[in-house]
């Protein structure tokens, strides 16, 4: 069906249970079309990060099927996972930077795993780092950055290899209003170029006056 083809992310009746008494997601079904920009919101502990983690296979669903960019996540073998992750840029809630490595190395990582040439890596890294306002800190170690600076490095790393899908988990939690607006502009721009974006946040201001679809999780269930 043509229809399925245009859904780049599709969850069907997905549940995730970490422990017996802990049901993080309960029968979530969701379709995200290619090129869509959706917001994922909900209170702390409602399952936003869990949902994203399922999409790049950091966790496996307890039940249900997940399709991302034509791949069936539930049947993915460990050696196939890297292929999925190269097509999905993730901004982690806890950044997950290499603390002892420089900003450049951290951002370059996404390109190096693809086997890009050094000259190309350099060019693209500089470009994106300038974009998030950290070009002056290119050679500083990640651990020596402020919280907001780290967050921007995480954003740069997730988008530098121009993945078709971006999963952003609370990417502006450590940023002031101006920086937040810059990040939102960057996301809009990427989206305009065709990137599908799933943006988890509880900052309601970000989607208050938007025409975007807003998905709300509560206690692991989709509401409205």
């Amino acid at each position: 069906m043509k229809y399925i083809d245009s859904a780049i992310v599709k969850l069907t009746d997905v549940s995730k249970r970490y422990t017996v008494e802990n049901l993080a997601l309960h029968r979530v079904s969701l379709e995200v079309q290619k090129g869509e920009f959706i917001f994922l919101t909900g209170p702390s502990g409602s399952g936003k990060s869990t949902l994203l983690k399922l999409l790049f296979c950091a966790e496996r669903p307890t039940e249900g099927t997940i399709r991302v960019d034509g791949m069936d996540i539930s049947t993915l073998t460990p050696s196939q996972i890297p292929m999925l992750r190269r097509r999905v840029g993730v901004i982690f809630q806890d950044f997950k930077l290499l603390g002892r490595h420089t900003v450049f190395d951290n951002v370059a990582l996404s390109l190096e795993v693809l086997g890009l040439k050094t000259s190309q890596v350099e060019k693209r890294v500089r470009e994106i780092v300038a974009n998030v306002g950290l070009i002056g800190k290119l050679e500083q170690k990640a651990i020596e950055l402020s919280g907001g600076e780290q967050q921007r490095v995480a954003i740069a790393r997730a988008v530098v290899n121009r993945p078709p899908i971006i999963l952003a988990d609370e990417p502006t939690g450590n940023l002031d209003r101006d920086r937040t607006n810059e990040v939102m502009e960057l996301m809009e721009e990427l989206n305009a170029r065709g990137t599908t974006i799933i943006f988890a946040t509880h900052d309601e201001k970000l989607f208050e006056n938007t025409h975007r679809r807003v998905i709300r999780l509560e206690n692991g269930r989709l509401v409205k």
């Binding site: 790049f56 296979c57 950091a58 966790e59 496996r60 460990p78 050696s79 996972i81 890297p82 292929m83 999925l84 992750r85 190269r86 993730v90 982690f92 997950k96 930077l97 290499l98 603390g99 002892r100 990582l109 996404s110 190096e112 795993v113 693809l114 086997g115 790393r157």
Partner: protein
């Protein structure tokens, strides 16, 4: 392309974790050093015992009535036995001279005694290359059936001792060697495991940004190869130098001139270097596997 990147990453990794690298190489070197000294010791012990054993000859006493003319033929027959290195004939007169020498100052007792009263004999040396205790027994048994022979003597007691000794040392050495091997493998693997532990965040992050297992493990395995090689080469060098030094000490003493300290044969050394590399690579691969699941 990917090989180039792995190589580049390994290099930058080594540069950034220089202390840890040096530590691991030192641990490998020290472990290998022990293994090598141990191998050297046991190798030299075996060499020494065999040397000793191969010097234990067989003495064949002939009957007095065996005519002088048949000696060359007998000599030839003995020489043609399998695994004989040398045969020496001692005539009655030679034997008498030896006894005289033993009695030294008191040789006057032998005055007037017939110089032929001692029987003639052959002294046989078993070929070193094929030396073993069983062979001595066989040759002795065979010889004692010959009609010209009155008595066959060989270091019965010595051979028995030697047998028990080599049995015991073999057991002890195999045991100790295995223990040492396990220790080495264990210590090296544990060191590598702890090193990867300290970097597990890094491994996790690499996985998360889409690095293939090859990309992640490649540099680590290359480093492990290098660690194993550098460590064991260092150890081999030290052991070699020590052997040379000890040999030069020994050869200065006239009494120890004949004692030969041999360095390990090339095959042993190669096995130890190869083993060191394998242990390092295997240890690394096993320690890393756990991080590559999700």
């Amino acid at each position: 392309m990917i090989a180039g990147i792995i190589y580049k990453r390994a290099l930058s990794d080594i540069r950034q974790n220089l202390t840890n690298q040096a530590m691991t190489i030192l641990v490998v070197a020290l472990s290998m050093l022990l293994l090598l000294f141990f191998a050297l010791f046991s190798f030299n012990l075996r060499h020494f015992v065999e040397e000793l054993g191969s010097k234990l000859g067989i003495v064949v006493y002939l009957k007095k009535e065996v005519p002088q003319e048949s000696i060359p033929a007998l000599y030839k027959r003995i020489s043609e036995l399998k695994g004989i290195e040398s045969v020496n004939y001692t005539s009655s007169e030679d034997a008498f001279r030896k006894l005289k020498k033993y009695l030294a100052d008191e040789q006057q007792v032998l005055e007037g005694v017939d110089a032929n009263f001692l029987p003639p004999s052959f002294e046989i040396q078993i070929d070193r290359a094929v030396f073993n205790i069983e062979r001595i027994r066989e040759v002795a048994a065979e010889l004692s059936t010959w009609k010209e022979v009155s008595k066959v003597q060989y270091g019965q007691e010595w051979i028995d001792r030697l047998e028990v000794f080599s049995g015991l040392t073999q057991r002890a050495l195999v045991g100790a060697g295995l223990l040492l091997l396990i220790t080495t493998a264990f210590v090296v693997a544990n060191t590598i495991k702890l090193t990867t532990y300290a970097r597990q965040d890094e491994l996790e992050i690499l996985r998360l940004v889409g690095a293939t297992n090859m990309f992640i493990t490649g540099p680590f395995l290359l480093e492990a190869f290098f660690q194993g090689l550098a460590g064991s080469l260092l150890a081999t060098g030290i052991v070699y130098a020590t052997t040379q030094y000890l040999q030069s000490l020994l050869s200065q003493h006239p009494l120890f001139k004949e004692v030969e300290l041999v360095f390990l044969p090339l095959s042993y050394t190669a096995a130890i270097i190869g083993g060191s590399i394998i242990v390092c690579i295997t240890g690394t691969a096993i320690s890393m596997r756990r991080f590559l699941k999700l």
